[in-house]
Amino acid sequence: MSGDYDVAIVGAGPAGGNAALAAAQHGLRVLLLDEQPAAGGQVWRAKSSAILAAPATEESTAGTSLRNRLAQSSVTHLSGARVWQMSQDDGWKLEVLQGGSSETYTAKKLVLATGAREYVQPVPGWTTPGVIGLAGATALFKQNLRAPGQRTVVCGTGPLVFYVASEIRRLGGTVAAVITPNARMDWACATPALLHRPALLARGALWVADLKLAGVPIYWQHAVTGVDGDTEVTAVEFAPLSHDWTPEASRVVIRADSLCLGNGLIPQIEAAQMLGVPLTHDAHLGGWVPRAAPDGVTDVAGLYLCGDGAGIRGAEAAVHQGTLTGLRIAADMGFDTSTARDSSRALWARAARFGRAMTALSIPRAGLARLSKDDTVVCRCEGITKAGITQEITHGAGSCNAVKSGLRAGMGPCGGKFCQTAVAQIICTETGQDVAQVAPPTARPPLCPVPLDAAAGAFDYHALPIPKPAPL
């Protein structure tokens, strides 16, 4: 058992990092655990050690600032540390995989700041090498400063699609086309929220203007309908969408060697789910979210949530919610932080309104499901098609758990993280249920694949606590 802390925080992004700093400022012993080589989360992901020098970006600057503040703080930050199992007795016990072995850490309070992943609507050919997630592309940019290919199609919702296209150009790549299901009108509707963030509005406008100047075609209210190529991407096919995002009949094919594809961020809820935090569905927060107050408090004693893992509200909201959560924990441990919390809460509320407006651009509309064809692979890990899932549902499997049990959709190495949103969508289509009635499958540990020998740990056979034999 290693080190007993006041607070353990899972995830060192904007939320977790700031929660750590706020709690540490009050003298709490804080353990910050993150699987990446450096703090920053996905949005402020650090450059790899392969980069000796590179022009700064807003994201790199913000990340560097967080990393510097953490380095100067009393926070114990373990990088490359993957929490794979959590349990609660008097306090919290975390099993942490680091460098091929597993250590146990304990803490009185636990913060989950697990951030987001993305939803990618399955389309024919989306499993072809060269197709990567839209948010995944940003990880590649920030860490490795590499473009995803020589000639890339970028397709997705919200501001991310323009950011990714712009970054590809910044890194010297070529954007073949930008394709977004959003119409210009969707952005017009988001303008009131954007006007409260003029700097972000200006940045977005610059991305779009640059693409226009460069002659990169932008296809509004379109979506990728298929990818050509068996072992690598050779071309991308796309189509105009109706108002509800149903693909229309006409098709355009564009030559490309890579495709960045995404349909919005979704919260990483598995850790909260495992610990029994009730879930609610809120499309404006990215779908299923664990129930948590703005200051991170949950129904589970001693457990707090903050950042995109508690609902997609964006990096700025995550910063303030992280701070607020750290301050709340300090208050729960006897420090008066009420004034600071009031100001953090106000900042959070403002940022969260903006975040919700951005998330709204990615809320899947009814027609999006039609991008997946009967023979489209939905569960990448196990190769299960939409038709297979549809058949299982028509035979009576009415829940994500039932589909998982019967077909293995969600039992592969990713643990369902890239298919369950689509599975729920198919259940809705087939049974007429609302998406808010189709709960995600039961989350199972470990939180990430863990080598068996690391999980087992070093042991002496004769010292194994083998219980008495089963009754004869």
Binding site: E35, P37, Q42, S48, S49, A50, I51, L52, A53, A54, P55, R117, E118, T127, T128, P129, G130, V131, I132, G133, A135, G136, A137, A139, L140, Q143, N144, L145, R146, P148, G149, S166, R169, R170, L171, G172, L206, W207, A209, D210, L213, A214, D230, T231, E232, V233, S258, R380, C381, E382, G383, G412, P413, C414, K417, F418, C448, P449, P451
Partner: protein, 96 residues
Amino acid sequence: MIRLVPNHASKIKRRDKVGFTFDGLRLEGRRGESLAAALLQAGHLNLRTAPFGDAPARGAFCHMGICQECAVRIEGRTVEACRTELTDGLVVERVS
């Protein structure tokens, strides 16, 4: 041509090149970058075949260590290429 978003490619300074092998092929990448990025840069997007059907090709997808599509074998263990730092002489094999 006027660019509002500058091309920074020439301003990025990278560490020295190191050699590694992928499925016996000798390749080069930058020390410290992710193996997935090094393989991408070396033109290898097809990293494995999925263990079902007609063994379709797969490559890095999420780049965040979640999807497990970039799984490769190093020293007899399955690891995510996107979470593996490139080191000199790394011997990388396909999973299947």
